[in-house]
Amino acid sequence: MPIGGKNYVRIIPLVIPAIGSGGTLKLRSFLILSAFSLVLFVAVTLLSAHSPVPISLQAAAGKRVWQRHNCVSCHTLFGNGGYVGEDLTNIVTKVNPPQLVQYLVQPPVMRPNRYRHHPALNRTEAENVVSYLEYVHTIPTLGWPPQPEKAGDEP
């Protein structure tokens, strides 16, 4: 059978078994395609999410503190979360860990409020959550957040 002209249309159902007569999918093909896509997607995700550095016990405990206090509602990690507070993915490079612990144990008033303080943690919780933030900082994020063009310059 010569391939060319309108004839190529006829071989499409042979080449792609998922496409049946009339150029449309059938239920069985749709189910197979969906199941295959899902399994492959989950497998690739699991492989990609594998962390080069395993998380320490303290950092893992800190992650639970992070979740229990719903920190994500105001702060982002990897840019995901709320935008009221600053992104904390690399906060340990700007504020040193003991200062962070101190901030969380004796939280200051949050700008622009005059009375409302940042929620407080006890010392162990604060140390754990800072350990978690130190761990998050070590995760490679493909160059995010971007480096500002004129870092530090006042306009």
Binding site: G23, F30, L31, S34, F41, S73, Y83, I139
Partner: protein, 472 residues
């Protein structure tokens, strides 16, 4: 099935001699009413919670019984769960209509409603008491999501058994709705676990945040739209069915791998930058097919007076569907694709730009459709009065203006934030304070949205009240 074929043939104008046969009301369709009523009620409460949260953002020291971090969590909990409950009702309703027979077990559907409502309300109550699990969009306790999963399991079992009962007469719309429910279940389950690895945690979260919305709900609503278009005479059954599986197949594969655009910066290899950006293009294809189908349907319906939509109830449903299509194209597809380009995303990610996209795409595409379905289900057997129809259209208009207002305000805030904070590197808090006027504009638009919300819910309640005794 036969009855339904006759019905659609009559509506499509090919056999004008056939009059519309009186459709039977199935128990499944009566039960679906309580799902839809619960869903629209939760939607009304959501706009109050969201408005309070938006105010809390711009008014310093605003006294509130629930702190902002838990208030926002409740808002997101509503955003995820009311469309789910509405979808469950819609799927039962339209599956029975499509197959023209009763579902496998109406009793199970009743139990399922109890389960999903109890666990959804528990999420809101526990979050109000400041008990939560701190994963964005899934802030409730994991055990509660297990309960939601149980409800989905009951739904999936019920629907699969329904289809299985007559394997040779499965319509594409019924099949893809069932697959949609199955996907909702499969994607939720990994999220009842705890992950120590933050990268995996973020990834699993997007299986609900992204894949519920852009894949599973796309399947359930595609089934609804197909059924509605056929019944309303906007499309011919054969034509719709010819493309439905292909559309659904694209929605599944496109939806799955475009999750990559959420994976970009969470600690995965750069493969996902390519996958996420390229496959997101594929996601647009089903949207284009849907828009094309609507355009052709509306054009032919206008040209042919005998087949055009006469019923005000169907017209109001159509206004809601058209609103959804508007945001499918603008907020979700065009704007979504723009911020999916990795070089753009690098800068706009983690700013109010994402928030603008979330509002436009989440409520815009999905919320309007679930509202359309719920209104259609709850108004069965009655026509709105002229005043009721006008109020309904006004409500849709207010919702649209409010949503576009919120989206625009957040977009401007997002661009400012991107430029001043990300590009120029100015202090985060300094930039945040500059955003207050735009966040205030968001509150005003949100107020407009809430007004539209209440007006629409009032019309839906009125329709429900009129038909509560005999929805036929």
């Amino acid at each position: 099935m036969k009855l339904f074929r006759m019905f659609s043939a009559g509506a499509s104008g090919r056999h004008p001699v056939l009059t519309r046969p009186r459709q039977q009301v199935f128990l499944a369709q009566k039960i679906s009413r309580r799902y839809c009523l619960a869903a629209v009620t939760l939607f009304a409460i959501q706009s109050v919670v969201a408005l309070a949260g938006a105010l809390d953002l711009v008014i310093p020291d605003l006294p509130s019984p629930i702190p902002f971090e838990f208030g926002r969590a409740i808002h997101l909990g509503f955003a995820v769960l009311w469309p789910l409950i509405g979808t469950m009702g819609m799927v039962y309703y339209f599956t029975a209509a499509e197959l023209n027979r009763e579902i496998f077990s109406p009793r199970l559907a009743r139990w399922q409603f109890g389960v999903v409502l109890v666990f959804a309300l528990s999420v809101y109550v526990t979050l109000s008491l400041r008990i939560g699990n701190g994963r964005e969009y899934l802030e409730g306790m994991p055990a509660l999501y297990l309960g939601i999963g149980l409800a989905l399991l009951l739904a999936a079992y019920n629907l699969v058994r329904t289809l299985w009962a007559d394997k040779h007469h499965i319509t594409p719309a019924a099949a893809i709705m069932t697959v949609g429910i199955l996907f909702l279940l499969i994607l939720l389950l990994p999220n009842v676990l705890h992950y120590d690895n933050p990268t995996l945690d973020e990834a699993a979260k997007f299986w609900v945040v992204h894949l519920w919305e852009e894949m599973a709900f796309e399947l359930t609503t595609a089934g609804f739209i197909a059924t509605f278009f056929i019944v309303a005479g906007l499309a011919v059954r054969e034509k719709v069915e010819k493309w439905l599986y292909l559309e659904a197949g694209l929605a599944v594969t496109g939806g799955l791998y475009s999750t990559g655009h959420h994976y970009f910066w969470i600690g995965v290899p750069s493969l996902w930058l390519v996958l996420g950006a390229l496959i997101s293009l594929l996601e647009v294809v089903p949207v284009v097919m849907l828009v094309q189908m609507t355009y052709v349907g509306l054009k032919s319906s206008k040209a042919n007076n005998t087949t055009g939509i006469k019923s005000k109830r169907e017209k109001l449903t159509l206004w809601l569907i058209l609103s959804s299509l508007l945001y499918h194209v603008t907020g979700a597809s065009v704007f979504g694709l723009m911020i999916t380009v990795p070089w753009v995303n690098l800068y706009v990610h983690g700013t109010y730009t994402t928030s603008a996209h979330a509002h436009l795409a989440l409520f815009g595409s999905m919320g309007f459709l679930v509202l359309a379905g719920c209104y259609y289900v709850l108004s069965r057997g009655s026509e709105p009065t002229q005043a009721g129809y006008k109020a309904g259209v006004l409500a849709v208009l207010l919702l649209n203006i409010g949503l576009i207002g919120m989206g625009t305000a957040l977009l401007v805030a997002g661009f400012l934030q991107t430029y001043l904070w990300r590009v120029l590197g100015r202090d985060f808090m300094q930039v945040s304070l500059l955003l207050t006027p735009y966040l205030l504009a968001r509150v005003l638009a949100g107020g407009m949205f809430a007004l539209g919300d209440f007006l629409l819910i009032w019309q839906i309640y009125a329709a429900w009240w009129r038909t509560r005794k005999n929805p036929s």
